[in-house]
């Protein structure tokens, strides 16, 4: 079995158990009423009915991680004031499989890759985890509230960033390997031949694509109106209800802003990276009191600008939004980025 495979539904857990022999497997699980990626262990229940509230980004790009640690040592008996500092980095990331994320989540990782890997100063922490992780995405049969993946270049069965794509074909799951890593995974576990399901899966996938809404007006241009984008009045109107909680950025599969802080005890310490959010006032606040983005509207404009103008400018037109809809679904104030971008694409509407 190499490129495709089939598993009856009742065999899915066997499949995950087989995978967990050689790798740490993360799969979506229901916790209370939210769906999160959890380390899979034998017999654990899966939850595939809807996309996880928080995608798998934290597996590859943890919310909090140690970049380096340091020891303070007094090595010189001649000079008791002198403190030597020893720096250390550690890496112990095991081979990992992310099972059951959605194609939009996988696409988000590709947007990260350009920032963290395709640069002359690649991020070694991100790269190691990315290299050691295999992504098995689960194609969506139908959209969920807020989804608009097709409008930003993705799709419910888009393969970008996935190593394997899994489709629910009724009596079981059809698997397609998309990369060498994906082939290796399919090879490593017993599976039925999938060839006869290929056509059915294709049909399900193209049906799903038709069901995704396009939030942008029909005659919208590809380009955003720079004039409207520059208008404070426009932003004031569309983000007045935003409460700057930053939930959109934490749940977003393409948001990656981070903070770096030091922590220490008497004789050792760590330099720690944590997710941060451009929606917070202090994100850009300088010690002098100067703040280049001092208002909510400037911060929100920067967030939309980053996804739809600045990132595409840097990376060949690629939009840094995967249309997963999480920022719309979970916004406590019902701010809708797709609506805002729709106005920017077709200013006549506003």
């Amino acid at each position: 079995m190499a490129d495709t495979g089939f598993l009856p539904k009742e065999k899915l857990k066997d499949f995950l158990e087989a995978l967990s022999k050689d790798a740490v497997v993360y799969a979506p699980a229901l916790e209370g009423d939210i769906v999160l990626f959890k380390e899979y262990s034998q017999g654990k229940d899966l939850y595939l009915d809807r996309p996880a509230n928080l995608g798998p980004k934290s597996i590859i790009y943890p919310q909090c991680e140690t970049l380096l640690s340091f020891d303070f040592k007094k090595n010189d008996p001649e000079d008791p004031k002198k403190v030597d500092i020893e720096l250390k980095t550690e890496s112990n990331f095991a081979n990992t499989v992310v099972f059951g994320c959605r194609p939009c989540d996988a696409k988000g990782l590709v947007i990260y890759d350009k920032v963290f890997i395709d640069t002359d100063t690649a991020d070694p922490y991100y790269k190691e985890r990315r290299d050691k992780t295999t992504i098995i995405s689960f194609a969506c049969e139908a959209p969920f509230a807020g989804c608009f993946c097709t409008a930003v270049g993705g799709g419910p069965a888009d393969t970008t960033g996935s190593d394997v794509l899994m489709t629910d074909v009724g009596d079981g799951f059809f698997f397609e390997a998309l990369t060498e890593k994906g082939k290796a995974v399919l090879k490593s576990v017993p599976m039925q031949d999938g060839a006869s399901y290929k056509e059915k899966a294709q049909k399900i996938k193209s049906e799903a694509e038709k069901k995704i809404r396009n939030p942008f007006p029909k005659d919208a241009t590809e380009k955003l109106s720079q004039k409207l984008f520059d208008s404070d009045e426009f932003w004031e109107k569309v983000v007045s209800k935003c409460i700057s909680c930053g939930a959109c950025t934490y749940l977003c599969p393409t948001c990656y802003c981070f903070n770096i802080t030091d922590e220490k005890t008497k004789d050792k310490g760590e330099r720690i990276r944590t997710w941060d959010a451009c929606m917070f006032n202090h994100f850009t606040l300088e010690t002098s009191g100067h703040n280049p983005r001092p208002s909510k509207l400037k911060r929100f404009r920067n967030r939309v600008g980053h996804k739809f103008l600045y990132y595409p400018e840097k990376y060949n037109g690629v939009i840094a939004c995967c249309g997963c809809g999480r920022c719309i679904r979970y916004c406590p104030a019902s701010v809708d980025i797709s609506e805002i971008v729709g106005y920017l694409k077709d200013p006549k509407q506003k």
Binding site: K81, T121, P124, F258, R271, E286, S288, N302, H306
Partner: protein, 278 residues
């Protein structure tokens, strides 16, 4: 390059000398502990470095010695926040981390054969110092050099040793100013942008390089525009809250440009194409 494979890993360095420039600014002369790395270290005037006080954090400062003087790297630090206060508490001989060089640099090649006008205010003199020293070390490449430098009061002027030397040189036109009358001060009094207009340098074949507090830069840029300096002959170097220093962490961007990586040096023409978030 002092950056090793891991761009977050600082190079360990020793503070060899600390100079008290003003009541709240100290300069730190720093040498890498690894002598080979110090010898191999290359950078360009205007590039910055991140200094680490381990356990407190990292902040960005310009390397204000020029690449023509490599016995040590000098950083000037105004005491303002947590990291700068921790730096001010250091003694000579203490260990710090250095990640450098980061960012772009002054287009000093394009400035060859031109008159150079420096307009600096307060700690904003630090990046200008790098370029001034570099140009003085390559004096024949540049025409007239004019330096307008202002601070709040005379004790707030940095680089007093340099100032003495520049005042004594015939090939440097140094104009000092302080914001208000001060006992014993006999030179100019007035804000930097005002003095700039009084001095009224001609824009012909001249590049202006300015750095200072945001409010000063704002009015200096207006002043230079009044003096008819074209946008691509005005160069500034920006400061922002920074963390990673390598264009990843997302806080120092102005539009699609990251001040830490694509900057800190920009021409006014480049800045005008970006959102007004300097």
């Amino acid at each position: 390059m002092a950056l090793n494979q891991n761009p977050y890993m600082p190079e360990m360095a020793t503070v060899t000398r600390i100079i008290e420039e003003t009541p709240n600014i100290k300069s730190f002369q720093v040498v890498f502990n690894d002598k080979e790395k110090m010898k191999a270290f290359k950078f360009q005037p205007g590039q910055v470095g991140q200094l680490s006080v381990f356990g407190v954090g990292e902040s960005t400062f310009v390397i204000n010695t020029p690449p023509t003087r490599m016995e040590y790297l000098q950083f000037s630090v105004m005491k303002a926040g947590e990291v700068t206060s921790a730096l001010h508490n250091l003694y000579e001989g203490d260990q710090i981390g250095v990640r450098a060089p980061l960012g772009n640099y002054f287009p000093f090649d394009r400035m060859k054969g031109k008159n150079i006008l420096f307009v600096g205010g307060g700690i904003g003199m630090a990046p200008l110092r790098t370029l001034i020293l570099y140009m003085l070390d390559n004096r024949e490449d540049y025409k007239d050099i004019t330096i307008i430098y202002g601070a709040r009061t005379p004790p707030d002027l940095c680089y007093k040793e340099d100032i003495k030397e520049w005042e004594s040189r015939k090939d440097v036109n140094l104009i000092l100013t302080v914001d208000a009358q001060f006992p014993g001060w006999e030179k100019r009094v007035g804000f930097v942008p005002t003095v700039l207009k009084e001095v009224a340098p001609k824009p012909d074949n001249t590049v202006a390089i300015t750095c200072g507090p945001p409010i000063m830069i704002k009015f200096v840029l207006e002043g230079l525009a009044e003096l008819k300096f074209p946008d691509d002959q005005i160069v500034t170097t920006l400061e922002k809250r920074m963390k990673c220093g390598i264009g990843l962490c997302g806080r120092c961007n102005i539009g699609h440009k990251y001040v830490c990586k694509d900057g800190p040096v920009f021409t006014l023409r480049e800045l005008k194409e970006l959102p007004d978030e300097a």
